[in-house]
């Protein structure tokens, strides 16, 4: 009965399959294409024949490319990294047994992740793989494995990051996002907790006001303060952007955190208070340890808002204090040659890569965050 009911007929199966393949292609293609274009010479990046863009015959001829060995190494490293991430909790517990401090072991784990990344992609994939390439070159039948197959050049990335000093913009973005995430989570968790535990009229009005504020165009808020910020010398300072982005983000943050807090039974705080905790102790020592998944998810969305913002940063920052996204647009506007264009494509790829990794690792949290707000609210 069950199986017959929920199984699809053959024709429906075919339709489902085709739609999924088509959608995956449409969703992925523009982004993937940016990456492919960014590692080719301009003449290949804008070739009319898609195969030429993918293989890059001119890039192969002039710069060289990735051999079969390189590709195997690349896939292997990504697999290893992913596996390591999947069992992160296991490693966390192991480190925690040694250090007995959660914060230190968390930081250690982050360091290990970064170190692994550097080892895999800056050493393993370049030096070791090239070493193997050089050896295989002299072995008669295995020679084919070391023959470059796909054109590959990092020159645009190097130009963007070192010559055009994109790292300055990267650091600016890092500071802005870090500021926004920490402040909005600190302020938001307190409010979200209180709102989830109260059914008073004030709480209701606060939530309704937040809903209205959520709908405001961001330019309205910048309009109000731009003049004052300029007069008091805050123009070009990151703190101004951080404050505005936190304010823009606040309504969304408190709604989301509130719905996460609603999942934690209220009996827990009552029990804690009977045991002699004051409300703040109950919040910090009993409720917060259970809230980390919700905090991480909300933090992810705050991060995305700050990282993706164009409007506020473009209006309040300039020159050296600019973040990555507005900077790339200025870059793009002054582009004159094909090389400049491919360099701005490389910059775009550099901005996208962290988001790729983010979705890969935090897919579950993103989905839960999106559904939390709707199902509960």
């Amino acid at each position: 009965m069950e199986s017959k009911l929920f199984n699809l007929s053959l024709s429906l199966k075919v339709i489902v399959g085709i739609s999924i393949i088509l959608w995956s292609f449409i969703a992925l293609f523009p982004l993937l294409w940016v990456f492919i274009m960014s590692i080719k010479l301009p003449i290949d990046s804008f070739a009319a024949n898609p195969l030429n863009v993918i293989i890059g015959p001119n890039t192969l001829k002039q710069v060289g490319g990735l051999s079969f060995i390189n590709l195997i190494f690349l896939c292997f490293s990504i697999y290893i990294y992913y596996k390591f991430f999947k069992s992160r909790e296991h490693y966390f517990l192991k480190i925690n047994n040694l250090t007995n401090n959660k914060l230190i072991s968390f930081l250690l784990l982050v360091v290990v992740f970064i170190a692994l990344f550097l080892v895999l992609f800056l050493f393993f994939n370049t030096h070791i793989a090239n070493f193997l390439n050089n050896i295989f070159k002299y072995i008669p039948f295995l020679k084919i494995l070391s023959k470059p197959l796909i054109g590959f050049t990092t020159q645009h990335f190097i130009a963007v990051w070192s010559e055009n000093e994109f790292y300055i913009q990267f650091l600016n973005t890092a500071m802005v996002t870090l500021g926004v995430v920490t402040i909005s989570l600190t302020v938001g968790t307190l409010a979200g907790y209180a709102l989830s535990r109260s059914s008073s009229v004030i709480a209701f009005w606060l939530l309704v006001a937040a809903l209205v504020f959520r709908a405001l165009p961001h330019s309205v808020l910048v309009t109000g303060y731009l003049e004052l910020f300029i007069d008091y010398g805050l123009y070009g300072k990151k703190i101004a952007v951080i404050i505005l982005l936190v304010a823009i983000n606040q309504p969304f943050t408190i709604w989301m955190l509130r719905s996460f807090f609603m999942n934690i039974p209220q009996d827990l705080d009552e029990a804690a208070q009977i045991d002699g905790c004051n409300p703040f102790q109950a919040f910090w020592m009993v409720i917060m340890p259970l809230m980390w998944p919700g905090v991480i998810t909300t933090g992810l969305f705050s991060f995305l808002l700050a990282y993706n913002d164009y409007l506020v940063c473009a209006l309040l920052l300039d020159g050296q204090s600019q973040t990555m996204v507005p900077a790339i647009m200025q870059y793009f506007n002054m582009e004159t040659t094909m090389t400049d264009l491919v360099e701005s494509i490389a910059a775009a790829a550099s901005i996208t890569l962290p988001l790729f990794i983010l979705v890969m690792f935090f897919q579950k949290q993103i989905v839960s965050g999106l559904t939390q707000g709707s199902v509960k609210g």
């Binding site: 969703a27 523009p30 938001g188 307190l190 473009a314 996208t352 979705v359």
Partner: protein, 339 residues
């Protein structure tokens, strides 16, 4: 939780919203009736280079004793609004051309209004429809494939909007891959970024591509909560697959369809990043883009804060209209709770 602890806990967030959302709103309201600008004076200066000297005129801000720029800030009443709405021009256009939409759109504000509204309401049904289809498809997929498909689906949603529109733009510019393909098929030259309508089509496509994943995730989560027994009962009663969808699944997830609609209306009404990403400002204009444009330094080095405030106020009228039905529902529910 007693009142005092509640106030202490919510105070930082409340202050944040008052100081950086509510107060700016009042400021915007006042600014929209003022004209604020640096006072500029025209200075003639002799500029010499090896080929001789010539005088040039420069606009220089007047400085006061302290060395700050002097500013004027005068009450102008409805002047800023008139400057944007341009009723006189509108009247003469209507007199000469009748109610021709394309003629009216030569005024920036009406063009922005037209685009923002059509953009918001054209993308909505597509997002709902594709999101629903995708959710139904993924729901019927093998469990092993669900993870990767959801991963791919989330990407367009997570990606920086400006970068996402750039990545689509690069497919369509002069010698981009899709343009090459279209030219090969149609055997004629195509310039997507030379016509307003083709850019508008791309902008619409981009937004649908960007928001469908959001609708998908919500609907997909909702589909997991549909009562299987009811579907089985309907099956026994002889309902076919479409009828089961129509009469059981859709009513069950209706609140979430409303939710997605609301969020989409709010977000699409703010359309802005696409215009930056596609470099479409020469052809298209949205309400938020207009505000941004007034706030930017123009060639003479001044910002039109007053006009930006006036556009902001006009933009907010639209927000209020979108929110009225929602707020009415919220208040009704609150009243029922009290009774």
């Amino acid at each position: 939780m007693n009142k005092k602890t509640f106030l202490i806990f919510t105070m930082p967030s409340f202050m944040m919203m008052v100081f950086f959302i509510a107060i700016p709103l009042f400021l915007v309201f006042f600014q929209s009736f003022h004209f604020k600008q640096d006072i500029l004076e025209i200075v003639e200066r002799e500029k010499c280079d090896p080929f001789g000297c010539k005088t040039e005129t420069l606009k220089v801000p007047v400085l006061d004793e302290k060395g700050d720029r002097t500013k004027i800030n005068i009450w102008v009443g409805w002047e800023n609004y008139k400057n944007i709405l341009k009723f006189e021009e509108l009247n003469s256009i209507i007199k000469n051309n009748g109610y021709s939409w394309s003629a009216i759109q030569s005024i920036d504000f009406y063009q922005a209004l037209r685009f923002t509204i059509t953009f918001t309401f054209i993308t909505l049904p597509f997002v709902l429809f594709f999101g629903m289809c995708l959710a139904l498809c993924v729901n019927n997929l093998l469990n092993r494939l669900k993870g990767p498909v959801i991963f791919i689906t989330l990407l367009p949603f997570i990606i920086t909007p400006v970068i996402g529109s750039l990545s689509i733009k690069w497919l369509f510019i002069g010698d981009g891959i899709v343009t090459s393909l279209l030219e090969y098929i149609l055997e004629k030259d195509i310039a997507v970024f030379a016509k307003a309508w083709s850019i508008e089509l791309l902008v619409l496509f981009y937004r649908i591509w960007h928001t469908t994943p959001f609708a998908f995730v919500i609907f997909y989560a909702a589909l997991q909560t549909v009562d299987k027994d009811r579907i089985e009962a309907a099956f026994v009663d002889g309902a076919n697959r479409f009828q089961r969808l129509r009469y059981i699944v859709i009513p069950h997830i209706m609140p979430l369809i409303v939710f997605v609609t609301l969020i989409h209306l709010m977000d699409a009404y703010r359309v802005y990043d696409e215009i930056v990403g596609f470099g479409a400002e020469g052809f298209l204009n949205s309400l938020q883009w207009m505000t941004y444009d007034f706030l930017r330094l123009d060639d003479s080095g001044s910002r039109y804060i007053g006009r930006a405030s006036a556009t902001s106020m006009l933009t907010m009228i639209g927000i209020v209209i979108i929110l009225i039905p929602v707020l009415r529902r919220v208040f009704r529910e609150q009243k029922e709770k009290k009774n």
